[in-house]
């Protein structure tokens, strides 16, 4: 593995609520090398999603330092973070978050359109073909099944050939069979692009497919280990 593409140093996240401050993350330090696949696992409320969103620049750390692709996130403005996400990252959500007024093709083309890239629609059509949705390009999200919507979301996440893919429980809203298809698709696409993949999941089988499992509890990393080869073999 090469130099770290994601690096966290003593990162804390504390949110305020009416009842008082809530400590979500407590002093996380870790680094993820370029091209690695990593799973963040842990019980509900352990801070998995918060950790992922901080790496994606969607949540700001209360203290500590986060560096992505050699760029420290703390000093960046909201727009700076947006631009970095557009250029470097693709994000897949549990709830898909497609723009309901846009067709599948338009959703996938959107990141490139926002970046002013001329080949937005050609790339989008090719990506939709790659995820097996050529026949659905002109459909709106409401006309697609959950699995199809997640394929569109994955295609959108890959639109600008990101170096990092973040996935937040990508199969959480799907049935087991469809979830398996989506995971196979996601891992296959990642592999072809040699992108870094960080995935939040409750699913041990899915976690075992990654190079590394970061286990969290109560806002802290309680274990950080390579996935068990046996499990990986079973899963694959």
């Amino acid at each position: 593995m090469s130099d770290p593409i994601i690096k966290l140093d003593d990162v804390h996240l504390t949110l305020t609520s009416r009842a008082g401050p809530v400590r979500i993350l407590r002093g996380i330090s870790l680094s993820i090398p370029r091209g690695q696949t990593a799973a963040i696992v842990g019980p509900s409320g352990s801070g998995k999603t918060s950790l992922l969103m901080m790496m994606a620049g969607m949540e700001r750390a209360t203290s500590g330092r986060i560096t992505v692709s050699g760029r420290e996130l703390g000093p960046l403005s909201e727009d700076g973070l947006s631009v970095l996400r557009g250029a470097e990252m693709g994000i897949v959500f549990q709830s898909f978050h497609l723009v309901p007024t846009m067709t599948a093709l338009e959703n996938v083309a959107l990141p490139k359109e926002l970046a002013g890239e001329a080949d937005a629609f050609e790339t989008a059509a090719a990506l939709l073909a790659e995820v097996g949705l050529t026949a659905r390009v002109d459909h709106f999200p409401a006309e697609l099944s959950g699995g199809e919507q997640q394929r569109v979301a994955i295609a959108r996440a890959l639109s600008r050939s990101p170096h990092i893919i973040f996935a937040d429980e990508p199969t959480g809203n799907l049935d087991g069979r469809t979830g398996k298809q989506i995971i196979d698709l996601l891992f296959g696409l990642r592999e072809r692009r040699n992108a870094t993949l960080v995935i939040v999941t409750h699913d041990n089988k899915l976690a075992a497919m990654t190079d590394r499992v970061i286990r969290m509890a109560d806002g802290s990393v309680v274990a950080d280990e390579a996935a068990e080869p046996a499990m990986r073999a079973v899963s694959s």
């Binding site: 969607m58 959500f93 990141p111 926002l114």
Partner: protein
């Protein structure tokens, strides 16, 4: 190392161009009008009022211009008081084209036996009348034949009043005349100023027989001229012709008009009314602005996840702003287009249903300026109110996608947007002020609106905070109602703001109306005279006084010499070269009543300078009304040149007076030293004050005796004149009230929008209450208490604030005494009760009908 290359481009990232943002914005429009109906309705309503007022003004002006020749009775008209045109004047007019001479005056028309009489507006015409248009008789027949010989044509109302019919005789002045026809229509009626009585037509030869015209008689001679075909066809050529002709008669004392602006008085009155109604339209647009802001805020809330998604895939704040701005502009364009379309249709609708009430037949000819102004106001208001909530969309963080945030759109928009809003507000005020005359009215209207929006905006929040602090109530309905009022995303702010602003404007219009009515009628019985007597020959006055006091003992008569003259120069400068604001220009535009006196007139107080001695014999002096003198820039010792009876007289201002106009005493702007005007032929004007409780038969006999003994004297009953004016005023007030009620409609739209927005949350709340055992009656009671409390507070504050704004408007702008009207209070409370009962009732009814299961499942 491609990753680093990407990172290095962060400071100057490649960005989508404007067209891409527009395309993305239009893609978002696929949402349809969801959430924008109230936005469009608020905008369309305000734009419609402004466009309708503008279009109606244009149509009336176009009507005046296209029918100008008919309305005027020719291409050009020259007119003057007292003296008939000389042979040289007539020659000068005839050199221009065909001339028609007419004379108008007030007189008394009597039954042949003298048993009854009525005030009439006499018009004597020559054989060429009318040069343009057609004068017609009821039942047909030749107009000119009917006025030949001793024939007179009378208005049906006059014949009804005197119990006469065609073929009967009537007496006018010293002549006994035969009624030969009933007037149907008169093409040039509206240029004869405000008329108090029904019309009588006769020939100029018959007028001579009446012996009404004597030196000093208040008679207006008009010379209508029809130019040969092709001569002076445009506005400028006609104006030049008017000017050159007037210059040939420097002492003529003629006023002139042409067919492009046949009645400057009507044009000016229409312009004033138009400007005022446009301001009311702007008020409804600004009230609707609250609905626009609410709609955009709700829209942004609904699109929060989409905005966060765009953030997560790399969209910048400006791109997100751009995408949603495109949508708002598109919705604004639709709202403005609907408003303009409806506004343009209004003149035709008014013409179809109420055309007879208008001073001229309208011609639908809407100017781009009127539409542009309405569209511009609409666009500015839409942007002004949408930018704040839209600007907060920029602050939406991608965090929203995984963590619901209470304050996701909190914070201020960025500075550039705030600067833009300030610029838009300044432009709006600038346009409103610069297009209004006088400008102070627009400034007052806008300041009043800003105060209202600020007060009610604050009040909503204050009520919610207060409700939070109140101790818990034992009664469930009250407790629930107070919790709803206290809720941060409850209806309190919207209801108080929309209802409060709309009701305040209602109070302002009602109180301004009350002040005007009170001014016209309230103080009259105590102070005003009962009759004005016109055209009393000076030699007849003592006899007339004796006659009246014999009929009605205790009657007091006050007389004053009365002439009419026109100011032709101020401090040596001809008035044509002077420019004053329109509230002063009227003094110079036509003939004014003049008098002379050796003592300070009744109802006047000298405020500076001194009154001339009783036996003053020096050069001409004049006493000027103080306010008007100030506006004309006249001070003590300055000179004023007046044309009286075709002669220019230069007088020095000796003193300034404060005049109590509302006393309706014999007040004149200019009163001269006696020697100046005593030698000029003139008649007297007198006021008659009857003792209180004078029986009506005594009054009738007195008027009949005046008519019999002094046929040239006209008696105008003040009460009738006031009633006549009140009728005209009432028509104007209807237009103001209609425009004002549109403001209330805008408030209702805002209220409806707020209720629709809150409906889903309130249904869910009611469903939850039902699942834990609340009865429909309890929910209904809670809603009723909540709405009643909010409406009552909004109405009470609206009455207080509206009264304060009305006080400023009445005392500072209208310069009248403020009168508080309980009717305005009851009207406000009534409208508040009806509005809240209708809107709240519909909302609560659908809430109580909502099926529980579907709502609980969908949450």
């Amino acid at each position: 190392m491609t990753a680093l290359a990407g990172v290095e481009s962060l400071s100057h990232p490649r960005r989508a161009g404007v067209w891409t943002i527009i395309r993305l914005g239009f893609r978002e429009l696929r949402n349809g009008f969801d959430g924008f109906r109230i936005f469009i309705a608020c905008l369309a309503l305000g734009v419609m009022v402004i466009a309708a007022v503008g279009a109606l003004g244009d149509a009336l002006r176009a009507g005046l211009t296209t029918q100008g020749e008919t309305i005027l009775g020719g291409d050009l008209v020259f007119a003057r008081m007292h003296i008939r045109g000389t042979a040289q004047d007539l020659d000068a007019f005839r050199r221009l084209g065909t001339v028609s001479e007419t004379a108008t005056m007030r007189t008394m028309a009597r039954r042949a036996d003298g048993s009854d009489q009525a005030l009439a507006e006499l018009k004597a015409v020559d054989a060429s009348y009318p040069l343009s248009g057609v004068a017609t008789l009821q039942g047909g027949g030749s107009f000119i034949d009917a006025v030949s010989g001793d024939g007179v044509i009378a208005d049906a109302m006059l014949l009804d009043r005197l119990g006469l019919k065609v073929g009967d005789d009537m007496r006018i002045g010293e002549a006994q005349l035969r009624i030969t026809g009933i007037l149907d229509s008169e093409p040039d009626a509206i240029v004869d100023r405000l008329t108090y009585g029904p019309r009588i037509f006769m020939s100029l030869a018959t007028l001579d027989k009446t012996q009404l015209v004597k030196p000093g008689t208040l008679i207006r001679w008009r010379y209508a001229i029809k130019l040969p075909a092709g001569a002076a066809s445009d506005r400028k050529a006609l104006a030049d012709l008017r000017k050159s002709t007037s210059e040939k008669m420097p002492d003529g004392g003629y006023t002139s008009a042409d067919r492009f602006d046949p009645s400057p008085q009507i044009s000016r009155a229409l312009d004033r009314l138009r400007q005022f109604l446009i301001l009311i339209g702007l008020a409804s647009l600004l009230v609707g602005g609250v609905g626009i802001a609410n709609a955009v805020s709700t829209f942004i809330d609904k699109r929060m996840k989409v905005i966060a998604t765009l953030r997560s895939i790399g969209a910048s704040g400006s791109q997100i702003m751009g995408i949603f701005l495109v949508q708002l502009l598109a919705m604004s364009a639709i709202g403005i287009a609907i408003g303009l379309a409806l506004g343009v249709a209004v003149p035709s609708i008014i013409d179809a249903f109420y055309g007879d009430l208008l001073p001229v037949r309208i011609r639908v000819d809407v100017s781009l300026q009127s539409l542009g102004l309405a569209g511009l106001y609409g666009a500015i208001v839409a942007l002004l109110f949408a930018l704040w909530p839209l600007g907060r969309a920029e602050n939406v963080s991608a965090t929203v996608l995984f963590r619901d945030s209470v304050n996701a759109t909190g914070g201020w928009p960025r500075r550039a947007l705030i600067v833009l809003m300030v610029v838009l507000a300044t432009v709006l005020v600038g346009i409103a002020v610069s297009t209004s005359e006088p400008r102070s009215i627009a400034a007052y209207v806008i300041a009043g609106l800003v105060v209202m929006l600020a007060v009610f905006g604050w009040l909503g929040g204050a009520i919610a905070r207060l409700a939070r602090r109140l101790p818990r109530q034992k009664r469930p309905a009250l407790s629930l109602a107070l919790r709803n009022i206290a809720s941060p995303d409850g209806l309190t702010r919207s209801v108080v703001l929309s209802l409060g602003t709309g009701l305040s404007l209602l109070v302002v219009v009602a109180l301004a109306n009350a002040a005007l009515v009170a001014d016209l009628q309230g103080r009259l019985p105590a102070e005003a005279p009962d009759y004005f007597l016109l055209d009393i020959p000076p030699g007849d006055f003592d006899g007339l006084r004796a006659r009246i006091t014999q009929d009605a003992p205790g009657t007091s008569l006050v007389e004053a010499p009365m002439l009419r003259g026109r100011i032709v120069a101020i401090k040596g400068t001809p008035v044509e070269e002077l420019k004053f604001s329109s509230d002063t220009q009227w003094v110079l535009n036509g003939d004014r009543g003049l008098s002379y006196s050796d003592s300070i007139p009744e109802g006047s107080t000298v405020t500076s300078g001194t009154w001339w001695p009783k036996d003053y014999d020096g050069p001409p002096l004049v006493s000027f009304e103080g306010e008007i003198a100030k506006k004309l820039g006249l001070g003590l010792g300055d000179s004023v040149t007046i044309n009286v009876l075709g002669r220019n007289i230069e007088a020095k201002v000796a003193n300034l007076r404060e005049v109590k106009w509302e006393s309706l005493a014999l007040n004149f702007i200019m009163v001269f030293s006696p020697k100046t005007l005593r030698a000029a032929p003139h008649n007297l004007l007198a006021t008659v004050r009857l003792p209180h409780d004078t029986p009506s038969d005594v009054e009738t006999k007195m008027v009949r005796d005046i008519g019999r003994s002094y046929p040239s004297v006209s008696a105008i009953r003040v009460r009738d004149a006031i009633d006549q004016f009140s009728k005209i005023f009432a028509k104007v007030m209807v237009a103001v009230q209609v425009a004002g009620s549109v403001t209330l409609t805008a408030g209702a739209l805002v209220l409806a929008g707020a209720l629709v927005t809150a409906q889903r949350r309130r249904i869910l709340e009611a469903v939850i209450l039902k699942t834990i055992g609340a009865r429909r009656r309890q929910i209904l009671a809670a809603h009723a208490v909540e709405y009643a409390l909010l409406a009552a507070i909004a109405a009470v504050v609206a009455i207080a604030l509206g009264s304060a704004v009305a006080w400023v408007a009445v005392t500072r702008v209208m310069e009248l005494d403020f009168v508080f009207s309980l009717n305005a209070v009851f009207l406000t409370l009534g409208v508040a009760a009806v509005m809240i009962a209708v809107f709240g009732g519909i909302g609560t009814w659908s809430i109580l009908r909502a099926p529980a299961v579907s709502y609980l499942r969908s949450e």
